[in-house]
Every structure is written in structure tokens, then in C-alpha cells.
Symmetry: C2
Subunit: 193 residues, 2 copies
Amino acid sequence: MNEEFLKNYFTERQLSKEELEVVLPHFKKVSFEKNDYLIEAGKVAGYYWFLDSGFIRSYTFDPEGNDVTTAFYLAGDIVIDWSSFFLRQPTREYMQAAEPCVCWELDYKTFQMLFHSIEAFREQGRATLVGSYFALKERSISMITDLAKDRYLRLIKDKPDIFQHASLKHIATYLGITDTSLSRIRKEIVTNG
Amino acid sequence: MNEEFLKNYFTERQLSKEELEVVLPHFKKVSFEKNDYLIEAGKVAGYYWFLDSGFIRSYTFDPEGNDVTTAFYLAGDIVIDWSSFFLRQPTREYMQAAEPCVCWELDYKTFQMLFHSIEAFREQGRATLVGSYFALKERSISMITDLAKDRYLRLIKDKPDIFQHASLKHIATYLGITDTSLSRIRKEIVTNG
DNA sequence: CCGGATTCTTAGCCTATGGCAAGAAATGGC
DNA sequence: GCCATTTCTTGCCATAGGCTAAGAATCCGG
């Protein structure tokens, strides 16, 4: 049972020793088996998690019913459906353990209590959310301005670990293309520079 | 000098009469002339605004130097660069008054004070940020799964007012296409259904 | 009211990517 | 180790949307 993970996380984010002692015990260690769902479309997210080990993929369905990957989560990432968790509204996404996972779980009510009582806790929460917003915006602009090949190359550079866990089909939909196109792009990169 | 705007906004978001009296006086009424910049790339956003009247466009440049519209702001909208304002980092965007604007301005330091001292204020702030995140995510997925024509039709339906203020060229880049393509799409819609 | 600048449309051609389908390769249950 | 299933690649053709350039329409300062 390795709590060092959470301890380091919150220490780096300016929580004092006393605050850590308040915050850490609220996190509950939970495990998910491969293919378990952490979040399902139609339900309100009542929890979020720090991913200690494992691999999670989130996805939704487009109007034609195709599976579209919205995110990948690796050890160390925070796994949360921001809008469902905070706005208490049903999500449209699925978050599924693609491998066995160990997580540190926090529920909404406890989050609210910590958020409103500990300044450093809300600062870290806000910073994390804003960081996610920033990443999503970058991805969004890249989708408009960059070619699929460039988005692929950037993903290899920024998150190489994903390639050890996700199938090319899922990576393709994350990049906004089909697996066929991704295959061609990969071939082209191998052949030329 | 119409403060009703702010008063209604925060009243709807659960601030008490006493809290309103603390919060409202901190907002400063400022005006921008057409083409003024509220935010410029390379600088840290020190303020955010409620747009009382006018019209603002935000944009950035892609790797080839093309102007890409990232958002439009109409009266009633909150005008903020979330990541620059909260992470205190230089932005990559420009936010420009496309028409003369009247805004209610708040600076970072004052925001922090209110955020950490008034629970309802931070609840509304968080809800607004999460709402923006949600909207950005929807847009992002739409960019992957929908045809340009469908994105255009949805924009007409969701934010028809934009068409009274923005040029088709700017709307095109917002939709992720060229003005040429948008023109073809519009023609096709007029011709057929 | 004029002339330049901007915006919008249209046309011709081009390219990135999709759709479909069939192999090839890898994976996994038993 | 074998078969079924899934993943990945490849080929052929189709299409959305880009690029360039040239008109048409609109706007705007003087």
C-alpha cells in the first residue's frame, strides 16, 4: 500500500504537513479489473481518482455510433470527468480500465469539504483543472491547424508511453483519423524520414 | 452605468446580499475601442472581464502564420484566458475588441482574495470554468466527428448572434475550414435544403 | 460620390483522408 | 499447439476540403 504517491503529489503542491494529515486519509485505495468501467455514460460521476498503476481509456460515441477515444490515462494521472463531477450532470463518456488498475479514490462530498476548508487544496484543484483546459485547447487547435502526421509525431514525442498500452485503432480515433490512415502514416514515416 | 448586469449574474449564482456588497465594488467599468487588444500573446493576463456590450474575437496563429479564431464573445459572456490568468503564464492568444466594448474588469489579486474568502464566489468561478471546459470538449469532439457543414449548421443554431458581428473569414477559421469552403457550404445550403 | 481596400463567391485543380474489402500478423482461450 | 478473433496493413476508388486566382459585391475614407 503505497501512499507515497499521494503524499508527494500534494507536498509538491504546497500542502503543509498538517494539511496532508487531514487530506490523505480521505483517499481510498480501490482496484479495477481489466475492462471495468470507472465511469459510464448517462451516470453522474461521483468520484475521481489518482491512477497509481494501470491504464485507462475514455471514449464516447459519435452520431454514427463510432467509438471515439477522448483520452488516455497513465500512472500518475488524475482520472476525472470534470463537467460531470462538478456540475453533477450525466456524462456522455465511458472511462474503462484497459488494464488492471490501482487507484486512489475521492468522492464528491469529501472533495467539497476539503476544497472549501483548505486553501492549498483548492489552489491545487484549480491548477489541475486549468492545466487540463490548457491541454485540451492545444489539442483542439492542433486538430484544426496540423496534419494528421504531425499530430501523430507530436503524440509520440509527448506521450510515448501510450503506445505501449493502447491499440493503434484507439490511438487513431484519439488523433481524429481512421486506423487505415494511421497505418499509412506510420508506413510513410518508416519509409522516408 | 448599469451594474444590474453584474448584480443579476452573481445573484443567480447564489451570492447573498451581503456578499454582493463585498464583491460588486471591486469590478471596474472599462471601455475598449474597436481594434483594441484586451490580451496580447506573450503577456500574462492580469485581468478578466464581463462583457457588458460589444463584441470580442480571440485568435492565435498556426505554425504557418495563419490567423485562427479561437472564440467569439458577446454581451453577457465572460472574457478570460483561463490558463494565462490562473497559471500566471504568457498566453499565445490575442483577444481583440472587434467593436467598441464596455466591460466590467477584475484583476488577479482581487479575484484571489474573493475566491478564497467567499464560498459562493468560488463555487461560481469553478462552475464557469468547468462550463468552459465542457463547451471546449464538445467543440473538440465535433471537430473530429462532424462534417464542416454540420459544424456550421450547429453554430447558426447555437450562437446565431455571432453572424451579425463576425466576418465569414473569421467564422470559417473558427469552424476549422477556409473561407472558400465556408462559401461553398453556404451555397449548397441555400441551393438544397 | 469616387477609388481603393476588404469581403465574399466562384472556378479549376490538387491532396489528405475516408470507405471498403481482403490479406497478414498477432493475440488469446482452451 | 490450434483455431477464432482481433489488430494491423495494403490497395483501390471516392470525397471533403485546401490552394490559387479572379471576379463580384461591399465597405469606407476623404
